[in-house]
């Protein structure tokens, strides 16, 4: 009653005030709970008049009677005051502590933040996205929310990061990736969104929050909404830019002459003293020469100097090329400080009852592949949104969004298992790059990249949407939105043939004009054959070494078009009973249909390799690629080869929210979902979910806590969703078809249709059931927010291969719902904001989360390295390492050499009959433990400098037993390859327009067993490349304390001999990274207003600049995933750890302008 009176009074007062409007001078003081607030912007609404509060919070401004003053300042809730008769207006600002009254976007609607009951995280769009030299939203989300795991596996520009919500694996047959929605419409890649268009990002983590989106949302939802028009008549124009320069994140220290020494040591260990290597050879003598070369020329001859015969290499025997000069591929392959620029322009405003927003964006990013003609990623974005209130019942809206992405790269090969980046790390440092003394390029990854034509993947995404809202009653509205989406992908791969000085084959003798051999001295100068030290000169043979028609002598193109129709229609009814009972009902439907179609064409044997075009191909045409390997377009909806697919989803949903005095909160969701992926009898499913909250701090008995506990809320939820990401071949008995290699009487291949796949008779959906418990607390005067969740997500009826089907079935065991797994985890978020009396504001926002996934049912296998019931996904089994054997561990013969013996039954039952070096007995005469079980190569015997394993089970032998749970010998679980304890935190401060923020992101625990040259010492020491960290730190009699074992060539195996999977050489991939450090300055408004600028901020940012990890000098990025890239997600570069495009750091500068 009191309130109403006040309103009437105010209204009358306003009428009066309007009538006598005139300019008056207002003064006052702006304060907060912490005292006076300086620097507050005071603006007269609808005019250009502005003012700022002084150090003691006082201000002066001229305003008309009845006009409205707006008080705004970062970190405080903006306040408005209407000018009345009083000439003094004092304002007390409230701290903006993630206000409970903030509105959070949730599925098909919004929710008051304080009333959330599901597991929902919101992203601070301003802090996370603005002013960062980040190509896409996905990368920006790394570390930004608890339970959201984002990994950037390499520095490949234009690639999608790996996004997971709550755990890395949710099922074997289906996907585990979240649904990404842009304004309630699924998008194929988070990359196509212009970060500048984004108004909000919400992460829906539990089934209670996401089940309203149905069967596609089984693994969480990333919900992105775009900006609406701004509220004011005056158009708001925003321009921002960013110029950044990127460089390899860390010095990639590959071995120089030390690597040669390793190679020679490894060869000599097995008795090989003849030259070893690939194409360029090394033996003890040439290694000494390489050391001398380094000493003599190391500081004067650089990458730009040609390779000279006689000085840099020589020929031994018939045609063995012996190198003495060392090269670092880094110098030739990496472009340092590659530039990137971004520009964004947006215009928004409201005219009458129509609001609009226009956005334009440009990203132009360079890659780091130096010799490439073109290595870049560009993105152009355009968007428009209009909304018009036709009358009080009807609002219509429309919009369009366009995104054009183009990735251009050097097309050297269609191989994804050995691309040019692998060759940064493959051949020894003797392998020449650059030019030879004739000025011709030498065959190398550099020359191939330089002569390769540019392939490109062009992705055009466009959507158009139309919608309306009908307000039937004040509290009852109907929303209808329709979106048409079209994405086309055009992937062109114009090949070439390679011609260069062929370093892979025998060199050719250099002859003079008369055909006589030319002689050179050790500096490569031509001398007479009789000169002392003169050697017959050779040149590398100038060859076109690509066989005509073989890769990459072809032109290939694949084109895919994808379109979809999305309809979202729902009605919302708000019911408020007796003030305290708030009900909200939603009822709606969601219908998505999509079709994707692709075409592939390739022709070999190009007649024109300078301008490769399909028309110039003269060889074999292919329309159906033999493998799907080249069918993955980054960020695309790619389907391999020539194919067509369609699918549809139709769902009806309802939601009821009930809040009693914002204290007792209940929400229930129900969705009835149908998917075209399933046969008719399985198409439809109900997905229920419930959540409830109790705001304990609103209870009377909690009143005493009010002074420090502003809010305390308990939340709980349960929900079930089905998963439709499984391939539909599991449900439908499809029959393979194609062209047979049987040629019919008409001379053409016959078509065939193969045996129908075996499908389990009683297969069902996989069910994803989530339970979540959470606490939210706001304490210390709204300054600190804490949120904690524990959850469990079960995948029930998980589809795994049926067990116990004998071979007589005649087909692979069909997959059925015989498995289950569960993911358990917790998440913690902490915010803190404070503004000191002097105007210095500080803030902290951090989160940490963990999730572990355990296999509950997967057949009856008990192999520890396989899938067994009770296995934690990602676990690594290996041996425990004691130390390296020293010479003193062995019995020595007269010449001080260890003695090779054949073990007897008495010495080792397991290894009887096998050869090994004789060990000394223990100090008290203990029988030594022999390890020949782990000798995997015929030339490998455990000796000095080799790894000594621990006999964990004490049986006197080192072995893996049966490799089963019951008997795993000396194997133990030594780590887990999935990231654990993922965290991110931001520290920020601002003072008088200067703002600084540092954002750290990290992973607390992740271990992997590395693969390939960069992680495994002696992986292939004949090929020769290895990190200096290994080549400079391996055991020799002179370096008994080295970390890595004695040199040995494991011949391309990463799990044999010394390098059995073990704890000593397990890579610790935990890290903490300074993802972003930004320093900005916002010019005072008083100043900028004079030139018509509302706000102006300049900033500089460092991205990825500092990393603290446990990998020492190994050139491996702790975020890298072995074998994963956009080109091949399981066996890229043969799965060799760290061999992709290196991750990069960048430094950037930018401006943000608002008119």
């Amino acid at each position: 009653m009191k309130k109403k009176l006040l309103l009437i009074f105010l209204g009358m007062f306003l009428l009066l005030a309007n009538a006598i409007a005139q300019q008056i001078t207002i003064t006052g003081k702006v304060t907060s709970d912490d005292g006076p607030v300086p620097g507050v912007s005071i603006r007269v609404k609808g005019s250009t008049t502005v003012a700022q509060s002084s150090a003691d919070g006082s201000y002066t401004i001229n305003a008309a009677n009845g006009s409205v003053l707006v008080f705004s300042y970062i970190g405080y809730v903006t306040a408005e005051r209407t000018v009345g008769t009083a000439k003094t207006i004092n304002v007390s600002l409230k701290t903006d502590a993630q206000g409970l009254d903030d509105v959070v976007v949730v599925g098909y609607g919004t929710q008051r933040k304080g009333n959330l009951t599901g597991a929902v995280s919101t992203i601070d769009v301003k802090k996370t996205l603005e002013g960062r030299p980040i190509a896409d939203v996905g990368r920006a989300l790394q570390g930004a929310a608890s339970g959201l795991s984002v990994t950037v596996p390499s520095g490949e520009i234009g690639s999608d990061p790996v996004i997971k919500i709550r755990g890395q694996l949710a099922s074997f047959a289906g996907g585990s990736s979240p649904l990404i929605l842009l304004d309630n419409v699924e998008i194929p890649s988070i990359q196509l969104v212009n970060p500048n268009d984004i108004a909000s990002i919400t992460i829906l983590k539990d089934a209670a929050a996401s089940s309203i989106y149905g069967a596609k949302a089984a693994f969480g939802v990333v919900l992105i909404t775009t900006k609406q028009g701004s509220g004011s008549d005056k158009p708001s124009i925003t321009y921002s830019n960013n110029f950044s320069f990127q460089n390899v994140w860390k010095d990639l220290k590959m071995a120089d002459v030390n690597g040669l020494k390793y190679t020679v040591d490894a060869a000599e260990r097995v008795g090989v003293t003849t030259p070893v290597g690939a194409f360029y050879y090394v033996d003890r003598a040439s290694y000494e020469k390489a050391v001398a070369w380094k000493e003599k020329y190391g500081s004067t001859i650089g990458p730009d100097d040609p390779t000279v015969f006689g000085r840099d290499w020589y020929v031994q025997g018939a045609n063995l090329k012996m190198g003495v000069r060392t090269y670092d591929p880094y110098d030739y392959m990496i472009k340092e400080w590659a530039p990137t620029q971004q520009h964004n322009l947006s215009v928004g405003g409201t005219t009458g009852k129509t609001s609009y927003n226009l956005g334009l964006g440009l990203l132009d990013q360079s890659g780091m592949l130096k010799p490439a003609k073109e290595d870049r990623f560009t993105r152009y974005n355009a968007s428009i949104k209009i909304s018009s209130e036709i009358n009080k019942y009807l609002t219509i809206r429309g919009g369009a969004l366009y995104s054009r992405r183009n990735k251009q790269y050097a097309y050297t090969t269609n191989s994804t298992t050995a691309d040019p980046w692998l060759y940064l790390y493959r051949w020894s440092s003797l392998y020449p790059l650059g030019k030879d003394e004739n000025g011709d390029a030498i065959r190398s990854p550099e020359s191939e990249v330089a002569s390769a034509n540019t392939a490109n993947i062009l992705l055009n995404y466009a959507n158009v949407n139309l919608g309306s809202t009908v307000n039937i009653l004040k509290n009852w509205k109907v929303d209808f939105d329709y979106t048409f989406t079209n994405q086309t992908e055009d992937w062109k791969r114009p090949g070439t043939r390679f011609t260069a000085r062929n370093s892979w084959v025998a060199p050719k003798a250099r002859l003079d004009a008369s055909g006589a051999p030319v002689y050179v001295n050790d500096q490569g100068q031509v001398v007479s054959s009789t000169t002392a030290g003169a050697i017959a000169a050779y040149d590398l043979s100038m060859d076109m070494y690509t066989t005509p028609g073989s890769s990459p002598d072809h032109f290939a193109r694949s084109a895919t078009s994808y379109f979809s129709h999305t309809i979202n229609a729902f009605t919302t009814y708000n019911l408020n009973l007796k003030e305290n009972h708030d009900f909200k009902f939603i009822l709606g439907l969601n219908r998505v249909t999509s079709t994707a179609e692709s075409q592939f064409g390739q022709i070999t044997n190009l007649a024109d390799i300078i301008n490769p075009q399909f028309k110039f191909g003269t060889g074999v045409q292919t329309v159906l690629p033999a493998t799907a390997a080249m069918g993955i377009i980054p960020g695309g909806i790619s389907i391999p080869g020539a194919d067509k697919r369609w699918e549809a989803q139709l769902g009806y949903f309802g939601r009821v929210n009930y809040a009693f005095k914002n204290k007792y909160l209940i929400e229930g969701n129900l969705r009835y979902d149908g998917s075209s992926k399933f046969p008719t009898d399985l198409q439809w499913r109900w997905f229920p979910s419930f959540s409830a909250g109790w705001v304990a701090s609103e209870e009377n008995f909690m009143a005493f806590t009010k002074p420090f506990l502003n809010q305390l809320k308990f939340r709980g939820s349960w929900g079930s969703i089905g998963d439709q990401t499984v391939p539909n071949g599991l449900y439908i008995s499809t029959m393979p078809s194609g062209q047979s290699s049987w040629i019919g009487a008409n001379g053409a291949k016959v078509n065939y249709v193969g045996t129908p796949a075996a499908v389990a008779a009683d297969i069902q959906w996989q069910d994803i059931v989530t339970t979540n418990l959470g606490i939210d607390a706001t304490v210390l005067n709204n300054k600190v927010n804490i949120s904690f969740d524990v959850f469990k997500r079960n995948t029930n009826n998980m589809i795994v291969p049926e067990e116990g089907i004998p071979l007589t079935f005649g087909a692979g065991a069909p997959q059925g719902n015989y498995g289950s797994l569960s993911t358990r985890g917790w998440e913690l978020t902490l915010d803190f904001n404070h503004r000191f009396k002097n105007g210095l504001g500080i803030n902290f926002k951090g989160n940490i989360s963990d999730a572990k996934t355990r296999l509950n049912a997967y057949g009856s296998g008990t192999q520890v390295t396989g899938n067994y019931n009770g296995k934690d996904i990602g676990e690594i089994w290996g041996y425990r390492t004691d130390r390296l054997y020293q010479t003193s561990d062995f019995e020595l013969d007269g010449s001080g050499k260890p003695i090779l013996i054949t073990l007897t039954n008495a010495e080792s039952k397991l290894n009887a009959g096998k050869q090994t070096y004789k060990l000394k007995a223990g100090p008290n005469g203990e029988k030594p433990v022999y390890q020949p079980f782990l000798q995997n190569s015929s030339t490998f015997r455990f000796g000095p400098g080799d790894v000594k394993f621990i006999d964990v089970n004490g049986d006197g032998e080192i072995s893996n037993g049966d490799g089963t749970l019951a008997n795993h010998g000396d194997l133990e679980m030594i780590g887990n390859s999935n990231p654990s304890y993922e965290y991110g935190f931001r520290l920020g401060a601002d003072f008088k327009g200067v703002d600084i923020s540092a954002f750290f992101q990290g992973v607390g625990s992740r271990k992997i067993w590395g693969a390939g040259f960069l992680a495994i010492p002696g992986f292939n020491s004949a090929d020769g490349a290895m990190p200096e960290a290994i080549a400079g730190n391996y055991w020799t009699p002179q370096t008994p304390d080295a970390f890595y074992p004695a040199a040995y060539n494991n011949a391309a195996s990463g799990t044999t001999n010394n390098m059995q999977v073990q704890d000593r050489y397990l890579l610790n991939m935990a890290y903490i990274r300074l993802k972003n450090l930004t320093v900005g300055y916002t010019f005072p408004q008083l100043l900028t207003k004079k030139v018509g600028i509302s706000s102006l901020r300049v900033y500089t940012a460092l991205e990825n600049f500092f990393t603290w990890d446990h990998l020492g000098d190994l050139p491996i990025d702790p975020e890298s995933i072995s074998g994963y890239s956009i080109w091949d997600q399981s066996n890229y570069n043969s799965g060799r750890t760290g061999t992709g495009i290196p991750a990069f750091k960048s430094i950037s500068f930018g401006v943000q302008l608002n008119f």
Partner: protein, 616 residues
């Protein structure tokens, strides 16, 4: 008409839309567009034919493709007593494998058994076809078509079971697609081979009664089927007989072999009016009068093979024809070498052999010693005469690498007549059947011997072999005592006809003559032809070989001359295959393959029993 009604007007289109999309439930009816779906397939004969097409490359494999070797002559069928390798000979399997089997249609074969591994995928495929024909297709096609396609499915089922039985003996028999929930059936134990082969017999009888005589060129028809039936029925009939299993079944199968052979032979659709070599080295076998079915290779379609290249004079196969095989060839007067009046009958120089032996010798082996052959006698049955002109040069695609395009005979009349005459002879000898007449021999063995000679052979002086006459059968001192003269000669005819092909190991098995694989029984297994090493294989005479003392020849009297670096001129005699040694000892269990240990344990764990093959 006030504003408040407008809201309903606005609402109407939305409501209409809602109704429209919500009622439109068949929006979810989106079956795969580019995959055939089992339930919606089988719409008519075209569909059925496409399904049947997927059998062809497996059962009518020809020369396989690419570098594939399974079921190919030369490269696949390398395990027999015809062929010898350097060092120790390949051994029989010596232990039960940990696991054996597959569920793939692309599964590897068991080369040492010349048949499929423990794999029921093809059985399932045929049973699916039969079920769908009956349940889905029947109303959509004519009765004649239904019967024909049922016959096609039953032919391939019989084909697969015949092969499985030849490898494993007893196997579980499934006459319908088994559900993944029907464990009792899936885990049933092996059925006796007689039970299985009776089922196969019934399938083949159905084939003979119902398959079309002509279903278009290069498609399976009753003649082709009958030819294969004669192969499998002869195998099983003689296997049952010689292994002393079930005389009634033996007779039944052999009679069917004769019946199937009669059907093909009496049709007079095929004859022996072209030369032997044309069968294996022609770029196109269309219209070849001896060929019932062939496989076409075409570089333009990227369907090529490598079998020709392995007989091009340069490539090494590793196992090559030995002296035992050489000696088994008749002289052109129709006599064995010990009794022949042909001049040079007892010379084993290659030059003499090609002139004096049955013409198939010249057509099957190069007329000069070639070092890539372990025995120096180099097979070139599957390469054209032209192919061998490239030795030391770059081969054309047709005869090098895996780009060969010669067509492969899948089934030819010669096999039918030899199956037929052998079945007849065995029936006559042991089952009171009608005696083999001279007319029978003239239709079979002698028809083959009367093939025309090609010009190149004639130019070398090669002559047709004299006919086999009942009254004057050759007397072979090397004959096994337990084999009657006529049957011995029929077997010899097979050996000469099918060298490098699919028959020899399986013939030894059905005749119960696997003991021939024990090379200690005859020293000739380690020898090649008579050579003058210095002139014919000089590259062997190196200092290193002199040191290693591994180049040897054997004189007629059995003395061995070893090259020591000084005695090159003395290196004349039977070539001794380098370091050749016998294979490991084996027993009669080698006739049949064991099943995997893991499979037996799997049955045990589920409470069922899978019996291991006898002797394993």
């Amino acid at each position: 008409m006030k504003m408040k009604y407008f809201k309903y007007i606005y609402g109407l289109p939305i409501l209409a839309c809602l109704l429209l999309v919500s009622c439109n439930k068949d929006v979810l009816d989106r079956p795969p567009l580019t995959d055939y779906v089992d339930g919606q397939f089988w719409r008519g004969e075209d569909d059925i034919r496409m399904y049947a097409n997927s059998y062809y490359t497996n059962y009518f494999n020809g020369y396989n493709s690419g570098f594939g070797v399974d079921y190919t002559p030369v490269r696949g069928y390398t395990f027999s007593d015809d062929l010898t390798s350097k060092n120790a000979q390949t051994s029989f399997e010596s232990s039960v494998p940990t696991s054996r089997g597959s569920t793939l249609e692309t599964a590897d074969w068991l080369g040492a058994y010349a048949g499929p591994t423990w794999d029921f995928a093809w059985v399932r495929k045929s049973n699916v076809m039969l079920a769908r024909l009956n349940d889905v297709a029947k109303p959509k096609i004519t009765g004649e078509a239904f019967n024909h396609w049922s016959a096609v499915a039953r032919f391939f089922r019989g084909f697969e079971y015949s092969r499985l039985v030849s490898v494993f003996g007893d196997v579980p028999y499934f006459d319908k697609e088994v559900s993944d929930t029907d464990l009792a059936t899936l885990y049933k134990d092996r059925d006796a081979r007689g039970v299985v082969m009776d089922k196969v017999y019934d399938d083949f009888k159905f084939v003979m009664a119902n398959m079309r005589e002509n279903d278009g060129a290069q498609f399976l028809n009753k003649y082709i089927a009958a030819a294969f039936i004669s192969r499998f029925m002869l195998f099983e009939g003689t296997y049952e007989h010689y292994h002393g299993l079930d005389a009634t079944k033996a007779k039944k199968y052999l009679e069917f072999a004769v019946e199937a052979g009669d059907y093909v032979i009496n049709s007079n659709k095929y004859n022996f009016t072209r030369d032997f070599k044309s069968l294996f080295s022609s770029d196109n076998l269309a219209g070849h009068p001896e060929v019932l079915l062939y496989r076409t290779y075409d570089a333009a379609l990227a369907v090529t093979h490598s079998i020709g290249s392995y007989q091009n004079g340069t490539e090494v196969v590793g196992v090559d024809a030995n002296l035992v095989l050489i000696k088994s060839f008749l002289l052109n007067d129709g006599q064995v070498w010990q009794n022949s009046a042909v001049a040079g009958a007892n010379s084993f120089t290659i030059a003499d052999l090609v002139k004096t032996r049955d013409p198939r010798f010249e057509a099957s082996f190069y007329d000069k010693a070639l070092v890539p052959s372990a025995t120096l006698l180099y097979g070139f049955k599957f390469a054209s005469r032209d192919a061998l002109t490239y030795i030391g040069k770059t081969y054309p695609a047709a005869w090098g690498s895996n780009t060969n395009t010669s067509d492969a005979p899948v089934m030819r009349l010669a096999e039918v007549v030899l199956n037929w005459i052998e079945a007849k002879a065995v029936l006559a000898q042991y089952f009171g059947g009608t005696a083999v007449t001279q007319a029978d021999l003239n239709k079979s063995v002698n028809a083959i011997r009367n093939r025309p000679l090609d010009a190149a052979a004639t130019a070398k002086g090669v002559l047709k072999t004299a006919p086999l006459t009942l009254g004057a059968l050759p007397v072979d001192p090397a004959k096994d005592a337990d084999v009657p003269d006529l049957i011995w000669e029929i077997r010899r005819e097979r050996r000469m006809e099918f060298v490098f092909e699919h028959t020899r190991l399986l013939d030894l098995k059905r005749w119960k003559k696997l003991n021939n694989m024990d090379f200690s029984t005859n020293a000739d297994y380690y020898l090649g032809p008579w050579v003058n090493v210095q002139t014919e294989a000089a590259s062997y005479l190196t200092a290193a070989n002199a040191t290693a003392r591994n180049v040897k020849v054997k004189k007629a009297d059995g003395t061995i001359v070893t090259y020591d670096g000084t005695n090159a001129a003395a290196m004349v005699g039977y070539w001794m295959v380098t370091n050749a040694a016998n294979r490991n000892a084996f027993t009669d269990r080698a006739y049949l393959a064991p099943v995997g240990q893991a499979q037996i344990i799997q049955y045990q764990e589920k409470g069922y029993k899978l019996t291991q093959t006898t002797g394993w």
